[in-house]
Subunit: 105 residues, 2 copies
Amino acid sequence: MANVSSVFTALSDPTRRTVLERVAERPRSVGEIAGTLPVSRPAVSQHLQVLKAAGLVVDEVQGTRRIYRIDPAGLGTVRAWLDRFWDEALEAFKADIEAQRGTDS
Amino acid sequence: MANVSSVFTALSDPTRRTVLERVAERPRSVGEIAGTLPVSRPAVSQHLQVLKAAGLVVDEVQGTRRIYRIDPAGLGTVRAWLDRFWDEALEAFKADIEAQRGTDS
DNA sequence: ACTATCTGTAAGTGTCTGCTTACGGTTAAG
DNA sequence: CTTAACCGTAAGCAGACACTTACAGATAGT
């Protein structure tokens, strides 16, 4: 599953966002991603697990290596939350202006 | 300033998102928000500081109390990052399909 | 079978985080 | 000036987090 908290937490770390961008460019293996980053390979593996739990990537075993690709689900939940929140804020703004118009001098 | 990491970190905590939603409904004081939540007032104050540092709320002193309202800047940075990332991913998908079409049997 | 490659996982560590209670500071009211 | 209301901040603590090294498992090639 991919709740909102897990997605935001996954996207909050800069290294993890870089890992996600590498995967977004094209499907990559763990070692290939770790080669371009200043952290160890297990660190990348753990980051990928967090991204996978958040529904941001999916993995597929290919022989001895494991290929990760983008999963649109996670980004979808972020966009959905953002849209809903944006609508709520706009509605509140409208109600606020309405109230101000009523009590204005 | 409101960089991407700070915004995502601010939105990753459920309590903090609830605080933000309370503020989004209408401008509120710290004590008013704390009254509707199962955490202490200083906790809410600290949450509001994080939200303010992320550019998600702005504060204004009104006598003895401090009113917080929504700041669209933070949500804007999230939306911008999301849009840019979405475009990148789409472009990568297109390039991937193009490559597959070239090497397909 | 043996070896090399690629990866996940366990264990440990320093740092950050979310929360609490205690305290001090500022403003409005008597 | 004293009092009450409202708030931020300091100090402390349990848990989470990002990272490392060491180890174990699975697959491809010889």
